[in-house]
């Protein structure tokens, strides 16, 4: 892979453009990128293990801190998983409030991406605009939940806080103002000849690539794969309101921007309907959960970047999960750079890597380090090799014992 003739261009781990520590190695032949390697682990915090030592209620706060941008997606998916385990149905008002928070988060996340994409292109006007129009959304969050990020709104069995009746007209007014601003931004971005020249036909992901890599979220929808958990397996209030899934056909970075910007309007539509549904109506916002029985549950949520998946297993005796597995959308979206970056010029690679809206703090499930000996870091290939070896070993061990594995075969 690492040929001596090729020039290696490192990006990161501390790079002025990136807000997270991430490390890419580009193997270049002249200006053309022939290979990309991703070295992970700078953001790994061991959340799955930590969650096994926390109470079920505390885990909602822990999973919130997996990622600061999609910080309500993980709690929604986790609560769905535990509610699936307990087999309970949450009150209708709580469903609507969950959808409001989830969609507001999508709005702020997509605007954040549009801004950062502009920043990556060196087009800082877009960056400043998008982030300016993102502020009223954070204000709305502060009004409903009391914090700009990390909302702590979810609990098992419902939500923690109600949306008060007197807040609803103010929220709707702010929302309509934001809508006008996003319309303006969308028109400006989509009609801009500079952005079109820079983004159209760059980093194309074909339908087959999406299927091969299992990519999800706006990345898949930009390539014409019609996939969205909110519609395919409804939870919260998504089956009670009118909205549609946005898809485009080309799969380049420009289409990813189009999908994200148009999704903002769908989100606004959902929020407005949800606010109408809870306005001047009374109702429970949570159901008390006394006991977590033995068993396992799965839950998911369509985060701004794609489907978040949580698996929780309980043994019925302890107050904390026995196993908690998290799969974040970027985990499958990031490897698509193998299909989209290779063959492109080095100047385009930055925006292609950013085009999938990667979120490293969600994704990093492994960290390999050897600080003392200053050894070479493990490459992607090595990690995959290690993982295959470990699976083989476990398979053999279980095979000798019999039981579980034989049952499956």
């Amino acid at each position: 892979m690492a040929n001596n003739k090729k020039v290696i261009v490192p990006i990161g781990p501390y790079h002025p453009l990136l807000e997270e520590p991430e490390y890419f190695q580009l193997y270049c032949d002249g200006e053309e990128v022939v290979d990309v390697e991703w070295i992970a682990g700078y953001n790994h915090r061991g959340i799955e293990k930590l969650s096994e030592s926390k109470h079920y209620d505390q885990v909602t706060f822990l999973v919130e801190r997996i990622c600061g941008i999609c910080s309500t997606s993980h709690p929604i998916a986790y609560c769905n998983a535990v509610e699936d385990l307990c087999g309970i149905e949450i009150p209708e008002r709580a469903k609507y409030i969950r959808s409001v928070i989830g969609e507001l988060e999508r709005l702020h996340s997509h605007l954040l991406w549009v801004g950062l994409a502009g920043h990556f292109l060196g087009y800082n006007t877009v960056f400043m605009w998008a982030w300016k129009y993102r502020e009223p959304i954070l204000d709305m969050f502060e009004m409903i939940t009391g914090n700009r990020n990390h909302y702590a709104m979810l609990r098992i069995g419902g939500v923690r806080r109600d949306i008060e009746d007197e807040d609803v007209p103010i929220l709707k007014k702010t929302l309509s103002e934001v809508k006008g601003k996003i319309e303006m931004l969308t028109e400006a971005v989509l009609d801009d000849p500079v952005l079109a020249a820079r983004l159209k036909g760059v980093g194309i992901l074909k339908k087959e690539d999406i299927k091969n890599y299992g990519a999800i979220g706006p990345v898949a929808r930009a390539s014409g794969v019609d996939i969205d958990v909110r519609r395919d397996d409804p939870y919260a209030a998504y089956n009670l309101v009118e909205w549609k899934v946005i898809t485009t056909e080309n799969g380049d970075v420009f289409d990813k921007a189009v999908v994200r910007l148009l999704e903002c309007f769908e989100s606004i539509k959902i929020i407005e309907q949800c606010l109408d549904a809870i306005y001047h109506k009374k109702g429970e916002i949570w159901k008390e959960v006394r006991e977590i029985p033995e068993g396992e549950g799965i839950g998911h949520h369509e985060a701004p970047r794609g489907e978040v998946f949580h698996y929780v297993r309980s043994d019925g005796n302890t107050t904390s999960p026995v196993r908690h597995k998290i799969r974040a959308p970027s985990y499958v979206n990031i490897p698509t750079f193998k299909a989209s970056c290779i063959g492109e010029t080095i100047s385009d690679v930055c925006i292609i890597l950013a085009g999938v809206d990667p979120c490293y703090c969600c994704t990093e499930r492994i960290a390999v380090y050897d600080n003392d000996k200053k050894k070479k870091n493990y490459s992607f290939k090595d990690i995959v090799k290690k993982s295959i070896e470990k699976t083989k070993k476990i398979k053999e061990e279980i095979g000798k014992e019999g039981k579980l594995w034989k049952g499956l075969l």
Partner: protein, 138 residues
């Protein structure tokens, strides 16, 4: 006040180090540069390299893989420099305190001058923290 400190106070160039954070403090730091807060009007800008920086804004728990990198960044920064721990994680470890990847908090690794707690601290409080420190600086 020495000439070096006087020059430092004039216009702060900031380098942002993230040592295994949840991204939230990081976007609040970026938020500082955007129109609502716009710290650029005080002469504060993000520097591209630690060698040009006066201030290190550090976020996150500093996990075991990051330790060497964070130390390296600190060594590269010209002294005197101000090290700011932004967010509960870098101040004390926060919710990740007992995690197996925890190598921090930040003051175990490099000397810290300013602590700004909060999860995440609001942009206003980050500004307030830096202003408070500059006033105390003599």
């Amino acid at each position: 006040m020495s000439l070096k400190l006087k020059a430092l106070k004039k216009s702060l160039w900031v380098y942002h180090v993230s040592g295994g954070s949840c991204n939230n403090c990081d976007i609040e730091i970026l938020d500082l540069l955007t129109p609502r807060f716009d710290v650029e009007r005080f002469g504060i800008i993000l520097a591209a390299s630690p060698r040009h920086a006066d201030v290190l804004l550090c976020t996150g728990i500093v996990n075991k893989k990051c330790v060497e990198r964070v130390k390296e960044v600190y060594q590269q920064t010209p002294k005197p420099c101000v090290v700011v721990a932004v967010g509960t994680c870098s101040c004390s470890g926060g919710i990740f305190r007992d995690g197996y990847q925890m190598a921090g908090p930040l003051d175990k690794i490099i000397p810290v001058d300013v602590y700004i707690p909060g999860c995440p601290p609001k942009p206003e409080s980050i500004i307030a923290g830096i202003v408070k420190f500059l006033k105390e600086l003599k």
